[in-house]
């Protein structure tokens, strides 16, 4: 019995608004009608406030569903000139002491000892070193824009994200600067920009690749554009005829630390076993 009483009270409660104005003229609302009206109004309200706007790409006139960008590096071609680093720094205003891309120099001595260093000075030219080596080579490094990226996974607010065209970016309107992504990246590609106190990294020059030149041709990232020996190749993996797609089919490429399951989109040709 008490339950029935409560039900009656609840029904009565839902009748209150129309009764307040003119109880005799307005027919009484049943609970079903009141709930229906409430659901309808809430739905309309949700549509008005929370409805997702039609999704647009980040840049006008650019279809981000039409591409999947990738990057290849030919280790045997790299001469360690540092042009890529200089270009990246000037294109992207990289803070001093941090790197969006860098080139590692590997030297294996006659005894078999391994020495690795990077050119970190402002001119990005390697210091001259003495001693004989059995092998030496250069390995350019940068964000691998992994499909299974850990950095985007651990971002607590989703500020690090994947674009539809396969690029990992940081949204500086949402980054809280916790540094969790910096810890999570196994390749050491991220840093906290000391000027803005937010995470930053290579964007594959997203501002360039999404905006064609005046003649309609695609722009490459700055590091690719200025590489004098074409050791860096950028292209569209969705386009089977792109140079990158063709190269990946014809030659053997490896990725860095594949066991981690991060599925990098930066492919290396001629990667030696010593590479870290």
């Amino acid at each position: 019995m008490p339950r029935q009483k409560n039900r009656a009270a609840a029904t009565h409660g839902s009748e209150a608004p129309p009764a307040a104005k003119s109880p005799s003229a307005t027919p009484e609302l049943t609970r079903r009608e009141a709930l229906g009206a409430l659901a309808g109004t809430s739905g309309l309200l949700l549509l008005a406030c929370g409805g997702r706007p039609p999704e647009r790409g980040p840049v006008d006139g650019y279809d981000w569903n039409g591409h999947r960008w990738g990057y290849a590096i030919d280790v045997d071609k790299c001469i360690g000139c540092g042009s890529c680093q200089r270009a990246c720094r000037s294109e992207n205003n990289v803070p001093d002491g941090y790197h969006r891309t860098w080139v590692e120099r590997y030297r294996v001595t006659l005894k078999g000892d391994l020495h690795v260093d990077v050119a970190t000075g402002s001119d990005h030219v390697f210091a001259t070193v003495e001693g004989e080596v059995s092998r030496a080579f250069f390995v350019p490094k940068m964000c691998n824009h992994c499909s299974g990226s850990v950095c985007t996974k651990v971002c607590p607010v989703g500020a690090s994200f994947h674009t539809r065209d396969g690029v990992v970016l940081v949204d500086h309107d949402h980054c809280i600067g916790c540094g969790y992504c910096v810890q999570a990246c196994p390749y050491g590609c991220r840093y906290i920009d000391p000027r803005i106190h937010m995470a930053d990294k290579c964007t594959w020059c997203y501002h360039r690749i999404t905006r064609p030149r005046a003649d309609g041709t695609r722009q490459d990232p700055a590091c690719v554009e200025c590489c004098p020996v074409k050791a860096r190749i950028f292209g569209d993996l969705k386009d089977p005829k792109s140079r990158l797609s063709l190269l990946l089919k014809r030659r053997t490429y490896r990725v860095l630390r594949p066991a981690l399951g991060t599925e990098p989109n930066c492919y290396y040709h001629g990667l030696k076993r010593e590479v870290l």
Partner: protein, 385 residues
Amino acid sequence: MDYIFPNEANVTWTVMIVLYPYITGLVAGAFIVSSLYHVFGREELRPVARFSLVSAFVFLLFAPLPLLVHLGQPQRAFNIMITPHFTSAMSGFGYIYTAYLLLVAAEIWFVLRQDFVQRARGRGPVALLCRALLLFDLDDSPARRKADHKVVRVLAGIGIPLACLLHGYVGFLFGSLKANPWWSTSLMFVIFIFSAIVSGLAVLIFHYFVISKARHWKVDHDCVQSLARYLWGFMIVAISLEMLEVLSIVYKQTEEAQILVRLIHERLMISYVVLQFLVFSLIPLLLLAIVSLWRLRPRPMYALTWTAAVMLLGQVLLMRWNVVIGGQLLSKSFHGYTSYVPGLWEKEGLVTAAVIFTLPFGVLWIFDKIVPLFPDVEARTSSSP
């Protein structure tokens, strides 16, 4: 060969991130004492039951402060809860933390209800405040007291898994990062739960003795003995887990083992091997074993227990340092180390850390002025001539 990636010259997580899990861990004293007393009926812990809850609440209030100081964009801190990205372990922090804070607050409210009723019956602003806190319900009947006690029991019961979640979460934050072999172990979150319990019990013993000494109270022998035994038991588990972790790394001889052994040898020999294990673990282990296994006279027993508690507070702080900072010293190239010495006056420096760590103790002191934290002892002291 020594080589670190060029972006690794500076450590990203500073002493603030050492302090955050440390303060969070101190909360666990309440969890364990409240569970043992309210849920499992260990009556001997009654003298510290209320204090443990209040101190936990205060530590909880300050636990996110070091995080806030560390964040590059602290004004966006609440975005972790407003726009969470659920694949991130960190996004759970806001919810787990808030849930536990509310639970402890509710538990305190029910525990302190009788005190508030007494005060609410008087006049003046304090009485009015107490009436407002009681939601103007001054019922003090035995039936109501019984009901309150029941609610506290239920809340303490809910608190057990929630506290495990809170302390385990902090460990998971580190343990889930596969990029860092020093952190990436499934044992990490269990280690954090147990080390939190150790530091929580230790800070409780520390406080109990200091306050009793300052106010010339006689400490409750049974309570101290019980706390010492629990501390001994939990520290054995915590230290065993910590040692098991190192042992499994060394024994498995994985790709990362070599660099981790080098990390311990070259960078963490003093802070990890000598201080954390040999000094701040072994000595308290022996002291608490003596306290727990032999019948000592009260004075030496209290001295040994207090010394062990203080040393274990140091041990857990060292453990936090060795995990948080130690893990970052290791380059992701696995072929080199960076270094970190916290500055004194910088934003995330030692002075800021000391201030943040002192604040909860200050607030606790103020809290004590408003509500008696040791009602049994105070009643006994005031009734004795």
